[in-house]
C-alpha cells in the first residue's frame, strides 16, 4: 500500500512507517530526500510560513494540500529557491536536500535547480520547437553537447513523459502549438531531461481538462519510480489518487503530515478533518 515506506525500508533496513507525525516532534531520518526545519518565510513584513518542519521521502509522491494562500506553494518554491526571484522574500530555517542546506551560500541556485526541477500551474513551454524545449536544459548544463547525445536525451525524456509517440514526427514544430495537456507533459519532459532528483509540481493540472489531468496523474505515478515528486494540489481527490504522503497546510502552518490514507481516513487535527470533508477551504 505505502510504496514509499516499503522502498525506504528496503533501502535503509530501518522501519519508519510514519516519518512525520506532526510539525513538532520529528524523528530524525536520513532517508528523507527533503528535510525542512523551522522554515519561516516573509514577504516584506508579512509572514507567509510559520516554523514549517517536514520530511519528504525519496521515490514517492508527496501532496501539499490546503486552502488558497495557506503557504503550500511558497514552501514548494523554497525547495528550489525560486523565491530568490522575489526581492522582498526572506527565508529562515533550514531546508536540506540530500543532507545539504539549499540556502547555504556555497550552494549555487543554478546547480540546485538542475537537481530540483519544477513544473508550474500553467504550462509554460518556451516559444521554441518541441526539441529545443527539451534540449535546452541538457545543453546549458553541458550534459550533452553533440547532436546525437541531445537527440537521445530528448527522446528518452519525451518517452518518460509519455509524449514521444504523439510528437515524434513534429519535433521541430513550436511547443506552444501543442494542446494544454501535451504542453504540460512537454514541460515535465523538459524538467526530467536534466535528470533531477526531485520534481516540484505546482498545481500542474489546474489548467487542464479531466482527460489531460488523468494522463498527467498516470505519468506522475510512473515517474515516482525514479524521482521524488512533490505536488501542490487543490483537488483532494487528486491528492488521494496520486500521492503516498500528504501534508496539510493552513494559515502558513503545517497542520498535519503523514501517509495519505491516514490523513484522509483518520486525520489527527480537526482542521484537517474540516478541510477534507469540505467544511471550509
Amino acid at each position: 500500500m505505502n510504496t514509499f515506506s516499503q522502498s525506504s525500508t528496503e533501502a535503509h533496513g530501518e522501519t519508519h512507517a510514519v516519518q512525520v507525525q506532526q510539525s513538532t516532534g520529528i524523528l530524525p531520518d536520513i532517508s528523507s530526500k527533503v528535510r525542512a526545519r523551522d522554515v519561516n518565510v516573509f514577504y516584506g513584513t508579512k509572514q507567509a510560513l510559520f516554523d514549517v518542519s517536514l520530511d519528504v521521502p525519496d521515490a514517492s509522491v508527496t501532496a501539499f494540500i490546503g486552502p488558497s494562500g495557506c503557504g503550500k506553494s511558497t514552501f514548494l518554491r523554497c525547495i528550489n529557491r525560486m523565491n530568490d526571484t522575489i526581492d522582498s522574500c526572506k527565508v529562515t530555517g533550514s531546508i536540506q536536500v540530500d543532507g545539504r542546506d539549499v540556502n547555504d551560500r556555497a550552494i549555487d541556485p543554478v546547480v540546485l535547480r538542475a537537481s530540483v526541477g519544477m513544473v508550474f500551474q500553467k504550462p509554460n513551454p518556451f516559444p521554441k520547437t518541441i526539441f529545443e524545449n527539451v534540449a535546452y536544459g541538457p545543453r546549458i548544463h553541458g550534459i550533452a553537447n553533440d547532436k546525437p547525445g541531445l537527440e537521445r536525451i530528448v527522446e528518452q525524456s519525451l518517452r518518460k513523459a509519455g509524449l514521444w509517440e504523439e510528437v515524434k514526427d513534429r519535433l521541430h514544430q513550436p511547443g506552444t502549438g501543442l494542446s494544454g495537456g501535451q504542453q504540460q507533459r512537454l514541460v515535465i519532459a523538459r524538467a526530467i531531461a536534466v535528470n533531477p532528483e526531485i520534481i516540484l509540481m505546482d498545481e500542474p493540472c489546474s489548467a487542464l481538462d479531466p482527460i489531460a489531468t488523468a494522463k498527467i496523474e498516470e505519468l506522475i505515478d510512473e515517474l515516482r519510480q525514479n524521482f521524488c515528486i512533490i505536488i501542490v494540489t487543490h483537488s483532494m481527490a487528486q491528492a488521494a489518487r496520486v500521492s503516498q504522503r500528504t501534508a496539510f497546510f493552513h494559515m502558513g502552518k503545517l497542520v498535519e503530515a503523514g501517509p495519505t490514507e491516514e490523513i484522509f481516513t483518520n486525520p489527527r487535527d480537526s482542521r484537517t478533518q474540516d478541510y477534507i470533508t469540505g467544511r471550509f477551504g
Binding site: V110, V111, L112, M118, F120, N124, P127, R190, A191, V194
Partner: protein, 609 residues
C-alpha cells in the same frame, strides 16, 4: 417582496427605460465625437500630403537640353596632355556647350543676344562633361551627345509655372519687313493680330483693376503718413518756440515720416500713370497699343525667328528680333505667344524664353523624369541640385546613431529592468530617463556642441558627431520602449528557464530578450525614424552646411535630409519650391519605409505564448 415601500416591478422598469434613452444618446454622441475627430485627422493628413504632392509636381520632370558637342582638343585639353587631372582643371567645357549653341543660332552674335542664349544653360551644368572626358580622353576630337539641365526659370516657364501663356496660331502668311533702325514690321492678311490684341486688352483691363485696388490701399497709407507729418511738424515748431528737450528726436521722426510720404507719393504717381496707360490702351479700340517691359509680353514666332513686339495693332505689329534659328526657315506656320506676366515681374526674360521655345520646338529641349534630384548634390543652381549628399549624410548619421543608440539603450533597459535593485537611486534614474524623453532636441544639440565640438574637439559638421547627438536624443525613447517590451514578456517564461537551472543571464539572453526583440526593434526603428527627421540638434553642431560633395566617411562634412530641406526652403529662387516639396516627399518616403520595416518586424517575430 411584500415591502410596501419598495417600488413595484413596473415602476422599476420605467426608471430603467427612462435612463436607457439617455445612456444610448450618450453612447451615440461619443461615437460621433470619435468619428468626427478621426475624420478631421485624416482630412488634415490628406490635405498636407495633397499640398506637398501638388507643389512637387513641377519638379517631377525636368527639361533637358540635348546637344551634340564637337569636342575640340584646344578647348577640352588646351595643353594636349590627355591627362585626366589636366583635362578636368583646364578644359573649357562650357565653351564647348557655347559653341554648340552658337551653331544652332548662327546669327546670334550679330543680333547681340549672345548672353541671353548662354543663359539657357548655366556654366555649372557643363562640369559633368569634364568628368566624362577626364574618364575617357579618347572622346576628345569626336562628337559627344550630352543632355544638360536647363536654366531653372526657363524650365519653370516651359512647364507653364509662370502665369498664363497664350499661344495662338496665325492663319494668313505673315511677312517681315526690316526697317532702317533694325526693328521689324510684321503684317499679312486683313487682321493677323486681332486675337492677341483682344486678349491683351482683356489682360490690361484686369491688371488696371488690380492695380487700382492696390493703389487705394497705398493712398490710405499716404493720408495717414501725411497726418503724421503735419502733427510732427507742428510739434517741431512748438519745441523750437519753447526750446524744450527732444527737439532733435522730433525732427528725426518728422524727417522719417516725410521720406515715407515722399516715397508713397512717388509710387502712387507711377501707379496712376501705369493705370492711365493701361486704360488708354484698352480704350483705343482698333488703335495700336505700345508694349514695354511693364506690360504683358507678346512674342511672334515666324520662320525660325522670334520677334518681341513693341507695338501691336490688329492689322500689323512692330517688334525687335530676339532669336533666329535657320532650322525653322521653311516653316510657314506662325504663332503669337502672349505672356501675361510682364517681363519685369519674372526672373526669365523674353530673350531666354525665345531661345528656349525655339530649342523646344526643334526637339533639342525635351522633358525627362527628374533624376538629377537623386544623382546630384547640393548646388546654387536649382536645376543642378539634388539630395544625394544629404541622403548619404543621413545614412551615415543614422548608422552611427543605430550602432550606438540600440546597444546602449537595450543594455540599459535590460539592466534596469532585470538586474538593477529597486531603490531610490534606480528610481531617480528611471524618472530622469522619462524626463529626458521630453527634453527639446535643440538642448541635445547645445550639449553636443559644448561637449563633442568644444571639449573633445571632434570635427564640425561630421556625421559621427551628428550621430552621437541623435543617439543622446533617441536613447530615452529606446530605453522606455525596450523596458516596456521586456516587461511584456510573461514571467512564466523566466520561471521556466530558471526552473530548468538556467542562470539569470541565460534566462534573459536565451528567452526573455529574444521574446522582447520585436518590441525593442519596433521602438528602436521608430526612434531612428524620428532621428532621421531631426533638424534642430544638427544645426548646433554645424551640419547645416552647403555640401556639394558626397561624404565618404564618418568624419567628412555632411548634412542630412531635413536640414537640406530647411536650407532649400529658405532660398529665394522659385524653382526651389517644387524641389523642396520633392525632397519632403523623399524624406517622407524614407520615414514610411522605416515604419513599414518596423511593422514588418513586429508582425514577423511576434510570438504568442
Amino acid at each position: 417582496m411584500s415591502d410596501p415601500a419598495a417600488p413595484s416591478r413596473t415602476a422599476l422598469r420605467d426608471i430603467v427605460n427612462s435612463q436607457i434613452k439617455r445612456r444610448h444618446a450618450a453612447e451615440t454622441r461619443f461615437r460621433w465625437f470619435g468619428i468626427t475627430m478621426v475624420a478631421t485627422a485624416i482630412a488634415a493628413c490628406g490635405l498636407l500630403l495633397l499640398s506637398v504632392i501638388s507643389q512637387s509636381i513641377p519638379a517631377l520632370t525636368e527639361n533637358r537640353l540635348h546637344l551634340t558637342l564637337n569636342v575640340s582638343a584646344e578647348k577640352a585639353d588646351p595643353f594636349g596632355k590627355r591627362v585626366p587631372s589636366e583635362i578636368r582643371e583646364h578644359g573649357d567645357f562650357y565653351g564647348l556647350v557655347q559653341d554648340a549653341l552658337i551653331q544652332r543660332f548662327p546669327t546670334v552674335e550679330a543680333d547681340g543676344k549672345l548672353d541671353d542664349l548662354f543663359d539657357v544653360v548655366t556654366s555649372l551644368a557643363a562640369v559633368p562633361i569634364g568628368r566624362t572626358l577626364a574618364q575617357d580622353p579618347s572622346l576628345i576630337g569626336k562628337n559627344l551627345d550630352v543632355a544638360l539641365p536647363i536654366n531653372d526659370d526657363l524650365d519653370l516657364f516651359l512647364k507653364g509655372a509662370y502665369g498664363e501663356t497664350r499661344v495662338s496660331q496665325g492663319e494668313e502668311p505673315l511677312t517681315e519687313a526690316r526697317a532702317a533702325d533694325g526693328t521689324y514690321t510684321l503684317s499679312g492678311g486683313p487682321a493677323p493680330f486681332a486675337k492677341p490684341v483682344a486678349n491683351l486688352r482683356k489682360d490690361l483691363a484686369l491688371s488696371a483693376t488690380e492695380l487700382e485696388t492696390a493703389l487705394g490701399l497705398k493712398r490710405q497709407r499716404l493720408s495717414i503718413a501725411q497726418t503724421q507729418v503735419a502733427a510732427l511738424t507742428a510739434r517741431v515748431s512748438e519745441l523750437k518756440a519753447s526750446g524744450g528737450p527732444g527737439l532733435a528726436a522730433a525732427e528725426a521722426l518728422a524727417d522719417q515720416a516725410q521720406t515715407l510720404v515722399d516715397n508713397l507719393t512717388g509710387e502712387t504717381e507711377v501707379d496712376q500713370a501705369t493705370i492711365a496707360a493701361y486704360r488708354a490702351a484698352v480704350k483705343g479700340e482698333g488703335g495700336a497699343i505700345e508694349l514695354n517691359d511693364d506690360k504683358p509680353s507678346i512674342l511672334v514666332e515666324v520662320r525660325g525667328g522670334t520677334y518681341k513686339l513693341t507695338r501691336i495693332a490688329p492689322s500689323a505689329a512692330q517688334g525687335v528680333l530676339l532669336a533666329r534659328s535657320p532650322k525653322g526657315a521653311s516653316d510657314y506656320v506662325w504663332r503669337t505667344v502672349q505672356i501675361a506676366t510682364p517681363q519685369n515681374g519674372r526672373a526669365v526674360n523674353d530673350e531666354v524664353i525665345a531661345f528656349g521655345r525655339q530649342l523646344q520646338s526643334e526637339g533639342a529641349i525635351r522633358p525627362a523624369l527628374n533624376t538629377t534630384i537623386f544623382t546630384n548634390s547640393d548646388s546654387n543652381e536649382p536645376e543642378l541640385s539634388g539630395i544625394l549628399s544629404a541622403l548619404v549624410g543621413s545614412i551615415f548619421t543614422l548608422l552611427v546613431t543605430f550602432c550606438t543608440a540600440v546597444p546602449i539603450g537595450v543594455a540599459t533597459a535590460v539592466y534596469l529592468e532585470e538586474f538593477a535593485p529597486k531603490n531610490a537611486l534606480t528610481d531617480f534614474i528611471e524618472v530622469n530617463i522619462n524626463n529626458l524623453a521630453a527634453v527639446p532636441s535643440i538642448v541635445f544639440g547645445l550639449l553636443g556642441f559644448a561637449v563633442f565640438l568644444t571639449f573633445f574637439n571632434m570635427p564640425r559638421s561630421a556625421p559621427i558627431v551628428g550621430g552621437i547627438v541623435l543617439t543622446l536624443m533617441s536613447l530615452p525613447v529606446i530605453i522606455i520602449a525596450s523596458r516596456a517590451a521586456l516587461k511584456a514578456v510573461p514571467p512564466s517564461i523566466r520561471e521556466a528557464a530558471l526552473g530548468v537551472g538556467a542562470s539569470k543571464m541565460q534566462a534573459i539572453f536565451h528567452h526573455v530578450l529574444p521574446l522582447a526583440m520585436p518590441g525593442i526593434m519596433t521602438g528602436s526603428i521608430l526612434a531612428m525614424a524620428h532621428a532621421l527627421g531631426e533638424t534642430a540638434p544638427l544645426l548646433m553642431i554645424g551640419m547645416v552646411a552647403f555640401i556639394a560633395d558626397v561624404p565618404t566617411s564618418f568624419t567628412d562634412s555632411a548634412t542630412v535630409l531635413p536640414v537640406e530641406l530647411f536650407m532649400w526652403a529658405g532660398r529665394p529662387e522659385r524653382a526651389w519650391e517644387p524641389r523642396t516639396a520633392m525632397a519632403i516627399l523623399i524624406l517622407l518616403l524614407f520615414m514610411i519605409l522605416m515604419n513599414a520595416v518596423a511593422i514588418f518586424l513586429r508582425r514577423k517575430f511576434e510570438r504568442r505564448w
